[in-house]
């Protein structure tokens, strides 16, 4: 078998987990993916339909990898509708990864929606370290919450606090996860780093809070992707290519990205305001 990660590998879906009415996790055999670092992504081919960038999720099975998809438009729905035994293509892992510094002991994860995926993978990898982890998670409403069971399971063995915000208050705090973050940072002054992934406006607020509080932050930025290998520039933000220079940027890098939280390029490449 070829080991060129850029050649599409067709894999068979072995397991499906329904995370919420609109979110599924697919598990399949893939050694390259099983070795990926937290924050990396696949380009996932849904034959005859689409190819989408998707963060690599955690799988407990050896030599296996997983992806988590939220049903939305054409491509994501086509994928969502796949089931056990169906075949999809993957290439990658692509992109850089979250960094973990062993001197950091107070760590916040801030995520929403499928932005949780890379954070879950990161948590999975570092949870056994002697740190205090706070996982802040947001959703529109209770039924759209997912991964909470997974995190809760881990909280039993590790020092993990799970804080949840729903916009409609149907679960946890009412409001945005950044509201929780703000309050949390008022009380907890010694946070080392925030890892975040999710809606760009959320990450932008988190960045502002981090900078104000002198905390490190790493955010995974999402942009429209075609190639995933730094050739097409569809994913560019300022002079960076999200697919190869990112997707993860720290506060020093992000502060230079004037387009962050302001505008993105649409499919044709036109710079468009959020």
């Amino acid at each position: 078998m070829s080991t060129d990660k850029n050649l599409i590998r067709v894999v068979e879906i072995e397991d499906v987990v329904l995370e919420s009415p609109s979110v599924k996790t697919f598990i399949f055999k893939d050694s390259l993916g099983s070795l990926s670092k937290p924050g990396q992504f696949f380009m996932v081919w849904i034959p005859r339909k689409e190819e989408l960038p998707l963060s690599i999720m955690v799988s407990d099975k050896k030599n296996h990898a997983a992806i988590t998809i939220r049903k939305n438009g054409y491509g994501s729905t086509s994928l969502f509708n796949k089931g056990k035994g169906d075949r999809i293509g993957i290439r990658g892992p692509y992109g850089n990864s979250f960094s973990f510094n062993k001197s950091h002991t107070k760590i916040i994860f801030l995520g929403g929606g499928t932005g949780l995926v890379p954070l879950i993978r990161l948590l999975y990898y570092i949870k056994q370290h002697q740190c205090k982890f706070t996982f802040i998670l947001g959703a529109k409403t209770r039924s759209e919450l997912f991964f909470t069971d997974l995190i809760s399971k881990w909280t039993k063995e590790n020092k993990i606090d799970l804080l949840i915000a729903t916009e409609d208050g149907s679960f946890g705090t009412e409001g945005y996860p950044t509201d929780i973050l703000k309050d949390f940072l008022m009380i907890n002054k010694d946070i080392d780093i925030i890892y975040t992934c999710g809606p760009e406006m959320m990450m932008k607020k988190a960045l502002d809070l981090a900078i104000k509080n002198g905390i490190h932050i790493e955010a995974s930025i999402e942009r429209y992707m075609k190639c995933g290998i730094g050739i097409c520039s569809s994913c560019c933000i300022n002079d960076k290519l999200v697919c190869v220079d990112g997707t993860i940027f720290n506060e020093i890098e992000i502060q230079k990205l004037t387009e962050f939280g302001v505008c993105y390029r649409n499919k044709s490449g036109i710079l468009t305001k959020f």
Partner: protein
Amino acid sequence: MDYDIPIKIAGLNLRNPVIVASGILGLSQSIFNRLYNLGAGAIVSKSISLLPRDGYRNPTIVSVDNMSYINAVGLANPGTESFSKEISKNNGPLIISLVGSDESEFSVIANKFKNLNILGFELNLSCPHVEKMGMEIGDDVNLVYDIIKSIKRDTTKPLFVKVGLGKSDIIEVAKIAESAGADGITAINTLRAMKIDIETRCPVLENKIGGLSGRAIKPLGVRCVYELSKSLRIPIIGCGGIMTYEDVIEYMMAGASAIQIGSLIGLKGIYSIGKIIRGLHSYLEAADISEVKEIIGIVHR
């Protein structure tokens, strides 16, 4: 490192002959600046059409073995209006690639760009996977002639014409381009190609057919440059499968005055630009060649 291997082509002075090909990181002024800072002698933009184009659905770019790709991006681009704003403050060595379907369209596009601070234009006659654009025009020699004539009427900036291996004779098309006033020829573009995934029994690209680039096409590109440089007086920019500085030399010996790199950037990243220029530099020094033009077309002598 100052990236200096000066060349002159079609009246332009470039600091070195390594140009970033059209469609490769070709949409953003910030990226153009970065490419320049990393050494590029010049940069060709994505092919710009009159109106914005979303291009095809993904997959649009697929790797095939041996350092090659098949792409059917479908000429996704922001269109003339938006792109002219994008580059309004440009002061780097930028060449705008143009694509369109008739004389009048090209005229509007060229007029929009001609007063900007750019080096010149490249006319994309050879995109192999978009109907009524690119290749299909390139195959109609009368249309080619008229389009070039009209662009040359609109602007005094140099115009390169990019040709490919399609349904017509590349040398004939290039000669027509020369006779219509083109200042240089870029050869070659990608070639119509296809990849089928046998497990899922379907073509991989959403558009089914795309253009082959990368290592696989180098011997074809070198041959075209060799043959073109025999038949033309205007300079040639070689393109296709260049991965190393040795490849640059090979193209130049075949007759290219400058070269473009594309797939290399996907394979080896953005820093490969500087690497190839440094390699070229060392080679010229070791071979005691003071001006790169000494080797241009040397195999013809």
